[in-house]
């Protein structure tokens, strides 16, 4: 079994903040993630039967759209799902070889595929379904928070963010240090009441989801004329108009 690193006070907790108020469920983040990562640290992300009956590949980020509730309270939710980089990740502690590990310096949960034996214990342990098994290579793979982008000195600084964040067309995804209460992402979470997924399980996910909200326009009812007269319109039109 694999142990977690000793918590370092003030260490970074890198993660994602995903705005469910803004996510339109377009899959842009998922496909760009696939495209980046299939040539990235965990390359490749294979696709089985790509042109056949059961096309099925490795994706680190998947989008689910579903309805919640019924009638007037019902809504359609678009829900992107990827590794939450938990603070207490059981996917790491169950790993028999140390392949699955959490980094002390930034909190990213990674898999060392060189020593992964493909036992899948981690995927059984993860309640969020965030692990992806590469049957072709027989190893587990997962979201790396684009570790080969966020620290990539070959990229301009503005581009050092995960592919899903860079590509998101409605700008519903944010990346940053959730361990720093003054970081823009922490402030966003505080302001919008961001939530962790299933915190009751005790894995302490780092990623946060911002709940949907509803803008309203208080407006007083429009004047309705008494039967047979268009008073309000006449009053308006009666005024001198200047072309």
């Amino acid at each position: 079994m694999t142990s977690l690193p000793q918590p370092v006070p003030g260490a970074k907790k890198l993660g994602l903040v995903i705005d469910l108020d803004t996510c339109v469920g377009c899959h842009a983040c998922a496909v760009n993630c696939k495209e980046w990562n299939t040539g990235g640290h965990h390359a490749p992300l294979p696709d089985h039967d790509p042109y056949g009956k059961n096309p099925d590949g490795v994706w680190f980020n998947r989008i689910h759209s579903y309805e919640a509730g019924c009638g007037s309270s019902s809504r359609t939710v678009n829900f992107p799902r990827s590794c939450l980089h938990c603070e207490q990740p059981q996917c790491v502690t169950v790993c028999p070889t140390g392949a699955s590990y959490k980094r002390a310096e930034d909190g990213i949960v990674l898999v060392n595929t060189d020593i992964c034996i493909g036992c899948k214990l981690c995927s059984w342990a993860c309640p969020y379904g965030a692990r992806e098994f590469d049957e072709d290579q027989g190893v587990m793979k997962k979201c790396t928070l684009c570790i080969d982008r966020i620290y990539n000195e070959a990229l301009p600084e503005a581009e050092r963010e995960p592919a899903c964040v860079a590509s998101c067309p409605s700008r519903a995804r944010h990346f940053g240090d959730l361990g720093d209460p003054d970081s823009p992402v922490s402030k966003l979470v505080a302001e919008r009441g961001g939530v962790a997924l299933m915190p009751e399980l005790g894995y302490a996910p780092v990623n946060r989801y911002l709940p949907p909200r509803k803008a309203t326009i208080p407006a007083k009812p429009l004047e309705r004329p008494a039967a047979g007269s268009g008073n309000a319109l006449l009053r308006l039109i009666d005024k001198v108009l200047s072309r």
């Binding site: 980046w36 042109y51 060392n112 027989g138 620290y151 503005a158 590509s167 409605s170 268009g230």
Partner: protein, 949 residues
């Protein structure tokens, strides 16, 4: 324990190329990374005006289209029966010779017997020009079955249009109404905009029968019944008029609301604007109590009342006619609520919210500007209510008038190109008066048409009809059946070519339009007509040339196939002569450049068209000696001049590349574009950003740049006098009148003020038998794309369901995932259902174009796309049921000819348990004319030499 090796700072590739995406119609800027000459990664171009760095799922999956096994490899000549898919690979020289011989014979005999129809291509300024120079009027692109209702209504009303020529003011709008906007039109710009509105706390209202995608994040979802949007909008207008919540100053300064309309029923000028001796429109000036030039300043125009013209006749301001119509009880919320499926209370509340935002929370920019009357204004007043409307409006047979109704609502509250409202995208606004009518009636001595085949009729005299008033074009566009069919009627092309009742067609030349499948209203009929033979055994449609990059469902029906490249293997231009990438901030255009060289014997279609034009000796494609003027599309993009100084690309013109819009061709132009990320944009100064239709400096500069030919004020047409001209003809006035059988129809639908009518198909089917509306939308990850063979995108969606409301399913005993039979007046299909809550209870819907024909796109024959995927099109027809005389009218909007896909109504019943679990109809499998390379496992991105363990 071995340490994980992480290479943090690997460069993405060894080369990056900026070009323009073409996975859909949005024209986003992309940065394509290559490694060892192969594709590695595509990302959004952060400097690009359209997508500002973001990229949708299709764009990111472009790699899989470029590597698709469905790519055609070589020109093909049919050797078996049409539809059999038996082809022989031939050399380009033979293919070009076949096409040239055929087209040369046509041009020498009857040029109109070439029907040239293109799909979602972005080179219509070239394809349309080819048709014009060839001399055929029978040309159109895909707009007729897409959104011509929005284009026509917009251009005839405000000189701009939703989507292509207009956009919401994402930065300043406080209320956004999104009407009939499926998950498309457009992609990234709307998503960026919605994100921005959310960030600013603006309210979003989605008016749509289906709550998915964009509608899912709206603050309010209004689940309207399909085809009733016009009623809803005009009911909002009713409420706003009743309460006086309109902007009369905007109306008299910017629209024709105060123009006097002649009230003389039966007279040849009834309903036209009263004019002075010079024909200038008149108004009633309350200050002097007499008529005055409606476009002069410092008058006090009347908006209500009836007045006597100097010649003694009566006339009324256009606004008075409008007020009479919409104040009538028929448009009261209580009268329309049931029909629309929206409570009267909701309609009244939304009207109140519009009024609140427009008049109690206006936006005022401290930005001086000067209007066309020469008056300086110290600020710009805006009504921050923005509207975007699209397919859900357009695809109904009442879509033109419904879209006009939306524009009327915008005009009434002063929400056209004012801060926070809906804004023109460059090159609009355009003055309607300078739009050329459709070409086709006359030819020049060199055989070319005197005008482009698609144009803007300004009255009956511009129609393409014979002396009996019957259509000249094969699709009947610009006839009395569809007078302002400004995009043509592609959905009638095959039917027209087959019927041969108006124009005998020798060759059907198609590009990038899947007319034998999802681009046909009725694929079964389309394929039957394509294979139908005369008694002597020859094909009824004699010859079909088709250009496509992939093995689509249409390829097997061609006699000659010209294989196109993918979008990363060609030059292209997103031209100001067509539909550029301009925004409210100013004009812009873009190019595509080859990132890769094709690994197959294929050629860019535009290069092929220019080659054919040269071989045919078409005017302006050859020099005086008959030698071709251009060796490629790239060459044409730089050197072609449509008007002096105006060519396909507006940027970097002139000898030194500094001319904007207008200037001599610059041999260095493409290099300059490439150095600039493959696009060009011009930023308008702040004083020109709003009120463009009346903004003197904007109009003057737009004229100087060649965007418009006339810098006079563009008056917004709240009353569309042009439509009235057609109506008068229907009453028998004028030299060009409709045939007797169409008079009532023309008089009814060509109404100068918008009105709502029941979608036509609904009036001719048994609604008791077909009680449910049936509509489609494209999923965001596949909108406007050719993505079904895409290895990544098809993992997101490879089969579709019919979605139905719980309350509609329950009485039919239908449960989730049941197989059902869906029947319309035109046919029956079988599919599976999924129950949902966020859909109008009288409506079923599905994802469009997920269903594929077995074997097409080289997918395995048992792929879900053909096994459990289905196409709703099988239930639709391009024709309405025949009238008593046996004539069938097109299933289209009677004004514009827009295909009325969404008028469909159906009935549903549960299939018996023993029925085969496969969607039906299930046409025979197609076999590609080559062996596709289908890897069992795709390992894209694997390091070279790396394989599985």
């Amino acid at each position: 324990m071995s340490k994980d090796i992480i290479e943090y700072s690997q460069p993405i590739g060894d080369r990056a190329v900026y070009t323009t995406c073409y996975m859909c119609a949005c024209r986003c800027g992309i940065k394509v990374h290559l490694k060892d000459g192969r594709l590695r990664y595509i990302e959004g171009n952060r400097d690009h005006p359209v997508n500002r760095g973001v990229l949708c799922g299709k764009g990111s999956a472009g790699i899989m289209n470029v590597l698709s096994p469905a790519r055609l490899r070589k020109p093909l000549k049919r050797v078996g029966p049409r539809g059999s898919g038996e082809f022989k690979e031939i050399e380009w020289e033979e293919a070009l010779a076949i096409a040239t011989d055929r087209l040369a014979t046509i041009r020498a005999t009857d040029p109109n017997s070439l029907a040239f129809f293109t799909g979602r291509d972005q080179s219509q300024s070239l394809t349309g020009y080819f048709a014009q120079m060839f001399g055929t009027m029978n040309f159109a692109a895909h707009g007729g079955f897409c959104t011509v209702n929005m284009a026509a209504a917009g251009l005839y009303s405000v000189g701009g249009a939703f989507w292509e020529f207009g956009e919401p003011d994402w930065e300043l709008s406080k209320l956004f109404l999104m009407i009939g906007v499926a998950e498309d039109h457009d992609s990234n710009p709307i998503k960026l905009g919605l994100g921005r509105l959310k960030e600013r706390g603006a309210k979003i209202i989605a008016v749509n029968p289906v709550r998915t995608g964009y509608a899912a994040i709206a603050d309010e979802f209004v689940g309207i019944t399909p085809g009733t949007d016009g009623l809803f909008i005009l009911s909002l207008v009713h409420c706003l008029l009743q309460s006086g919540q309109i902007d009369p100053t905007f109306l008299v300064r910017h629209t024709n609301a105060h123009y006097l309309v002649i009230d003389s029923p039966g007279a040849p000028d009834h309903g036209l604007f009263a004019g002075d001796a010079e024909g200038k429109p008149l108004t009633w000036d309350r200050a002097t109590d007499r008529v005055a030039d409606a476009e002069t300043s410092d008058i006090d125009p009347a908006l209500l009342g009836t007045y006597q013209l100097p010649d003694g006749r009566a006339a009324r301001p256009a606004f008075a006619l409008l007020a009479d119509r919409y104040l009538a009880p028929d448009y009261a919320p209580e009268a329309v609520a049931d029909r629309c499926g929206i409570t009267a209370e909701t309609i009244r509340r939304i009207a109140a919210e519009i009024a609140e935002i427009a008049f109690n929370q206006p936006v005022v920019l401290n930005q001086p500007w000067t209007d066309t009357a020469g008056r300086r204004h110290e600020s710009m007043l805006g009504r921050p209510v923005a509207i975007h409307a699209m397919r859900g409006i357009s695809a109904h047979s009442n879509g033109f008038q419904t879209c006009r109704a939306i524009h009327v609502l915008q005009m009434l509250i002063g929400a056209i190109d004012t801060p926070g409202s809906w804004r023109y995208k460059s090159p609009c606004p355009k003055p309607f008066a300078e739009s050329a009518p459709p070409g086709g009636k006359r030819r020049n001595a060199n055989g070319s048409l005197t005008a482009a085949p698609l144009g803007f009729p300004q009255g009956p005299e511009d129609l393409l009809v014979d002396e009996a008033g019957e259509a000249l074009r094969l699709d009947h566009a610009f006839s009395w059946e569809a007078p302002i069919a400004i995009h043509g009627m592609m959905h009638m092309a095959i039917a027209g070519a087959h019927a041969q009742n108006r124009q005998k067609i020798d060759t059907l030349f198609l590009y990038m339009a899947n007319v034998a499948w999802n681009s046909a209203m009725n694929p079964g009929e389309a394929t039957r007509m394509l294979t139908d033979r005369n008694e002597n055994g020859t094909y009824r449609i004699p010859f079909v040339i088709y250009a496509d990059a992939f093995f689509s469902e249409t390829v097997p029906y061609a006699d000659l196939v010209l294989p196109d490249t993918t979008y990363l293997e060609r030059y292209d231009c997103i031209s100001l002569l067509d539909r550029p990438i301009g925004s409210a901030h100013g004009p812009a255009d873009a190019i595509r450049i080859p990132v890769l060289q094709p690994d197959r014997d294929v050629r860019p279609f535009q290069d092929v068209l220019i080659e054919l034009a040269g071989r045919l000796g078409l005017p302006n494609f050859v020099n005086e000696a008959g030698k071709p003027l251009y060796h490629s599309y790239a060459d044409y993009m730089v050197r072609h001049e449509r008007r002096p100084g105006v060519g396909p690309l507006a940027g970097f013109r002139g000898k030194d590349g500094t001319a904007v819009g207008r200037g001599a061709p610059n041999p260095d132009q493409l290099r300059r574009y490439i150095a600039n990320g493959s696009f060009w944009r011009h930023h308008l100064p702040p004083e020109q950003l709003y009120y463009k239709h009346s903004n003197r400096r904007y109009l003057e500069d737009a004229k100087a740049m060649g965007l418009i030919g006339d810098d006079r004020k563009i008056t917004l047409q709240i009353y569309c006098e042009t439509l009235q001209k057609f109506r008068l003809a229907a009453e028998g006035h004028g030299p060009v009148v409709p045939p007797e059988r169409l008079r009532e129809r023309v008089a009814r639908f060509m109404d100068p003020l918008p009105f709502w009518y029941t979608p036509i198909e609904e009036t001719v089917v048994d609604r008791a038998r077909f009680p449910l509306h049936a509509i489609t939308q494209r999923p965001m990850a596949m909108y406007h794309s050719w993505g079904s063979q895409n290895a990544w995108l098809r993992q997101i969606l490879s089969e579709n369901r019919l979605y139905i409301h719980h309350s509609a399913a329950a009485p039919l005993g239908i449960a989730d995932e049941d197989w059902v039979r869906v029947e319309s007046r035109n046919g029956t299909l079988k599919c599976r259902v999924r129950l949902m809550d966020g859909v109008n209870p009288n409506t079923v819907w599905t994802w469009n174009a997920i269903g594929k024909r077995s074997g097409a796109w080289t997918l395995d024959r048992d792929a879900p796309e053909s096994h459990t995927g289905f196409l709703l099109n099988h239930l639709i027809s391009e024709y309405l049921p025949a009238d008593p005389s046996g004539r069938s009218a097109s299933n289209s909007d009677p004004v514009t000819g827009q295909a009325a896909w969404f008028d469909l109504t159906v009935r549903i019943e549960r299939c018996a348990p023993h029925e085969v679990a496969e969607t039906a109809p299930h046409p025979a499998s197609l076999t590609p004319p080559f062996k596709p390379d289908h890897p069992h496992i795709l390992r894209f991105g694997a390091k070279r030499g790396e394989t599985s363990r």
